[in-house]
Symmetry: D3
Subunit: 192 residues, 6 copies
């Protein structure tokens, strides 16, 4: 299963991202939960749909960042949100970056450049991907709730899932989602 050719070896290993479930959904009882491969696809599609509406974004670069931002999880798994408070400061982030760099060694310089850009959020493309990472989370939550999932309400109450965004099209989608959620809960819940 491990061909000598290193790029092929990498590509075969990455197929296993189909089998890494997004733990936040799994732990809240969603059957057949989204995989990390599926999440990454949807973040890339979201970036793709929004980037042309945002002045100054390099679409190609933003898509690269979206596609690779979770590749390291094929070696670390997808840690649920709750894991964050039990690790030493930055321990989880350092592990992800090391896994990312070792995994992508066959690609040389490209990997380290992408890792640095993702880590520092220096570029607008990296910040857009970060915002879309959260936004796709909430779009999926809304989708699952529409399908009947009952254990996901707490996602709406976590302010970190709805950060103020510097990008207006991102903010508009957040607002649309919030309205969707209020409508879903019925007229007695508050003003739309």
């Amino acid at each position: 299963m491990k061909p000598n050719e290193s790029l092929l070896g990498l590509l075969i290993e990455l197929q296993a991202l189909d089998r890494v479930p997004r733990m936040g959904y799994a732990l809240r009882g969603v059957a057949e939960p989204e995989s990390v491969a599926e999440h990454s696809f949807h973040v890339a599609i979201l970036v793709w749909s929004l980037a042309p509406r945002i002045p100054g974004i390099d679409l190609g670069r933003a898509l690269e960042l979206a596609l690779v931002h979770d590749l390291g999880e094929v070696r670390i798994g997808d840690l649920p949100m709750t894991a964050g408070r039990y690790f030493d400061d930055g321990a989880k982030h350092r592990a992800e970056e090391r896994a990312f760099l070792e995994l992508l060694a066959p690609l040389g310089e490209r990997a380290s450049s992408l890792a640095a850009e993702l880590a520092e959020h220096a570029s607008p493309e990296a910040r857009l991907v970060k915002a879309c990472d959260k936004l796709q989370l909430m779009i999926k939550v809304a989708t699952y709730q529409g399908w009947g999932a009952g254990g996901l309400d707490e996602f709406w109450e976590n302010g970190g899932n709805f950060p103020d965004s510097e990008f207006e099209p991102v903010q508009q989608l957040y607002d649309a989602l919030r309205r969707w959620n209020l409508d879903r809960q019925g007229p007695a819940e508050g003003p739309a």
Copy 2:
């Protein structure tokens, strides 16, 4: 479940690509088969890894094409290869293009430009995506066989899954996969 905002509606509908199985694997007994979302992700990653090795490829455009090439399947499903011989010439292709265009109407001109480029294989980026679409298929077949799948041998015998490619890095990966397959079958099977 159907917010009024059309972009949000589109994005929610696309989440269902997680639940469209790639039928070629399902029909040959692969449990938990790849979804169309996962396939699209891996084609994009493959394009991303190869594009810089191919002179004259616009990476951003190639990634766009890879990400969207199967979006229409959220309305049509993933038809297995065998379906091809039962439809009138071009009927399946026309249906896919119509579904793609209607689905992506909220994105206006972008969608029709991408659809035309994919349909006519006019650009090198579109041809690269088409080649990577097949190559990812065989990488997944190899992965599943490494995991124990027993019903996939016929994929190796279908010449259409190993077209000659104009792009040398694609051809090299095809060759590496063929060697992997011969090794897998043992020394008596032929010269490695």
Copy 3:
């Protein structure tokens, strides 16, 4: 996997109908959705339970038609309802009939006689199977909603899923289902 004996080859191929999901449910988030084999079973049971209440129905013939009406999907897959509007007129139907006939070639004349009867709805048995095909769809929708599925409401709004039936026992079950749906939505929704 492909024994030379043609009937055995056919029977083995048909086992894969267990792995063809009914796409309408899958796309609306039902986990572990009904397979085409399961659907066909339930349509046959429905025909079996109703046929004796309908004068002039040949039960044996009706059961044959119910069992085979979707066999061709082992080569074409189960196209979701939405696919219908993207194909040329009749393209989907012609493909299904060709797949059916080629698949069942080992059975000779029997297959073409059944295909013709299903296509033309000439016999009361074929019309009963067609009505039960829809009726079983709505029984399954009701079952899934009872189990907690949240994405299936639109099935109730599609008039094509509740055609007037020439067969009174079919009509009675439709009416009972509609009452079930009103009751489910609570007293404020309208008169039961």
Copy 4:
């Protein structure tokens, strides 16, 4: 979920046969194992394909028996083969018959007539269904082994799964399966 109309209540309850796994496969590690609904479908298809080759078989009656022979399992579950040796003589059989009769009470006389015919194997149709029940088991075993299942060899060694059949077309399919199994194990295993 329990409409007052008894036939509708029965039909809704029977949809749950999709969720009753055939335990013999599940216990031997087959993922996504066949459901009782799928098994019943395939037995009916097998009967349908063979009946016209057997003089004196009433196809309609044979199909009825095939479709209903395991309906009682929606109340009892599918007991694995090994369960047989732990129950008192006939206890399992009596339970299945009682469940069948109580479940199908809305159908009145039809149910008891079918139960008696199945229990006593008096008619050739009932004996054909019984033979096809075993034959479909082995066709599925062969299918799963072709797909890569590794835990099913013992089915071939159990003589009870290959009874001598009074029906020549059944016997021919048994023989074809045995040849398939020998071929699968390679040339050293014996004469094909």
Copy 5:
């Protein structure tokens, strides 16, 4: 797959308890239902959490009983509650005990001592395990309902699932669960 060493053979066979679904959930539409291995784990954890609050309980013995109480189901399967009324008096219980004893033969005397204690409910430890077997059922039902399951209401109406318990901490958890269920149904349902 069957090593000669009998203890190893037993341990390998028991791994298959992961694939025995708890049928009560499966038949009511819960996707990815609890396995018998998972149920046994949770009963043991429940016993572990409560035992120190109950005077006179031998924790080690109680844990043993909790862990083994359903081992026989690897040979018999998990019969749904409804099965009970179709078997002769005690037939199901006798079968479970025989399966348990034959399965655990490699462990000699220990098995028969545990079987006798479980059967006769003579010890407080055996009665605690029996109470926790029911209590864990209702904790799981509450969990699944929180996750969106819609078909489980009847469990709350079955008095046998809420027996009066001689153990006060068990009774307190029952009461807490009942309050949870009333709260879940909203203020109009009755006094909390």
Copy 6:
């Protein structure tokens, strides 16, 4: 979903261990992989079967340790083996211990005593649980390979999965497993 009673809240949260897959299997293509709840059950059963053969072991204490050793994973997930090399020394271990203690706060002193014993491997019971944790891993690997899994060979090559054990019955099971693995690979592989 969060009742006020803290013990009930804890017990409901722990039900989600059914949905935490053991990532080592998932990443190597095992469908429907073992959950952490199932793993913990099997470790406890293994401890239960071996403890009486080992002088000086307190069975009750050993069972407690086996049942709780992975409870913290309901907040952290199951990190695959490969994750180990990317985290700072001890970071993963510290996170697990913190999660364990916070999760089990409703149980007070009991939790910290168990955590300390597990962390320091001071007692023979803690060392037995640690050895059985590895041994159960390899029993499951053998089970999956018997069922047809193809991606697990590397587990046999990792010396850390077969540590020398101070407990003779553990060592005997290791040896039996190694013989099973040699037999499985056929006569040419070496002396059985």
